[in-house]
Subunit: 238 residues, 2 copies
């Protein structure tokens, strides 16, 4: 029916399934307000997110030993608390705020769309976020994963091929039986390089006005959809 014998859909999460920027900006504003700090909180969210990318590059290159994303977020947060001139804070408060990334809201179609896709395919996360982050987020945002899979279980971050291939292995599938669903062409290119199929779902609001989203598929992407319902329609899900 999909013509490709796809048995599992695996999902990029930050940006594709959840609206990290709005959720982080909102929590940061609350946190700042509590501690008497004013700032552009959208910018704060972007600043925090930038640390995620550079932290992962250091791990995949071998410059840093393996660190889960909670630790990468914490490293960056320490710098941001100084940069944004927060007062001295209790460890418990910092730890709770660092877990703002466990408390991200889904896009409006995420839960219902995943439930439709789940009726016909295995649906699993394939995020660089660590398993506990993804597990807590799934409870918070009501994401009905069949399995919570993560680059943590590969010991390599996307877009390293092993992050994708390990996920297929854990699902007992060949790479070509798995399709990555993501809002980011670079991630989808990584999946194709690892032997998976690729579906671009656009999330035009992910970055606000700070950065251009990917809105056009590359020629070898198998599917191109405007949200999870559109993808479910194209895949023949009820």
């Amino acid at each position: 029916m999909n013509g490709k014998n796809i048995k599992a859909l695996v999902f990029d999460v930050f940006g594709t399934v959840v609206d990290w920027r709005t959720s982080i900006a909102r929590q940061a504003e609350e946190f700042g307000s509590k501690h008497g700090v004013e700032a552009n909180w959208d910018q704060f969210a972007d600043d925090w997110r930038d640390g995620y990318h550079s932290g992962m590059i250091k791990v995949n290159s071998g410059e840093d030993k393996w660190k889960i994303v909670d630790e990468i977020h914490r490293d960056r947060l320490e710098l941001l608390l100084e940069k944004y001139e927060f007062p001295a804070l209790e460890e418990d408060e910092i730890a709770y705020f660092n877990k703002s990334w466990h408390r991200l809201e889904g896009w409006p179609d995420s839960t219902a769309g995943l439930n439709r896709l789940k009726s016909k395919f295995i649906v699993a996360s394939l995020s660089n976020g660590n398993v506990s982050l993804l597990t807590n987020m799934a409870k918070f945002a009501n994401l009905p994963w069949d399995a919570v899979l993560s680059a943590e279980l590969a010991g390599k971050y996307k877009t390293h091929p092993w992050a994708y291939q390990r996920t297929a292995q854990l699902l007992g599938l060949e790479p070509e039986e798995v399709m990555l669903v993501a809002a980011h062409n670079g991630d989808l290119r990584g999946a194709i390089n690892a032997g998976l199929h690729a579906a671009l779902v656009t999330r035009p609001k992910e970055f606000g006005n700070s950065k251009k989203p990917d809105l056009e598929p590359e020629p070898d992407f198998a599917f191109f959809a405007k949200d999870f319902h559109d993808l479910a329609d194209q895949l023949g899900c009820e």
Copy 2:
């Protein structure tokens, strides 16, 4: 409220959550019937299960390299197909039958009880079964795991302490924030040795009349319940 700061319940699966013996005997009978083989299929199920234990011991001792449970089941199945005098079979048929263990029915209280427990705790599998087996089983038996965790992610089978401790680590929790729920005192002893709490849920029908079930808790088990609803009641779940 539970007096122990427990944040996650992790579950033994074979016997505790699903009725493997009835489910395997039924599928084996169908398979035998198709191929003109008659046998005591309860005995066949027990024979197959025995290979699981001996296969894991060889892995944990280092005698065998790491093998997932699907492979351990397959090793045993090859012997049983001879012993029970099956005719020559196609590879696809053997592979499908080997995955009978992915198609096990839950006990009558499993789905509803897990949903109640899930309202208050993270609920995750902690089985020796591989991730793909557990993921497929969860879809088949409607098991609403927050996360599908497995000894496969530790590279050691229970009752090795790392199987339990790795699960706590992946959940971002200390061992004492996690409780194993199981129908088997040996598994619960392994959990306590690894720093987790233990809850015995009895499954008197697990072995039919072939083997005595564990029906009495040991003194340091934190909870003792007759099914998942009873456990949910004791833990104050709605």
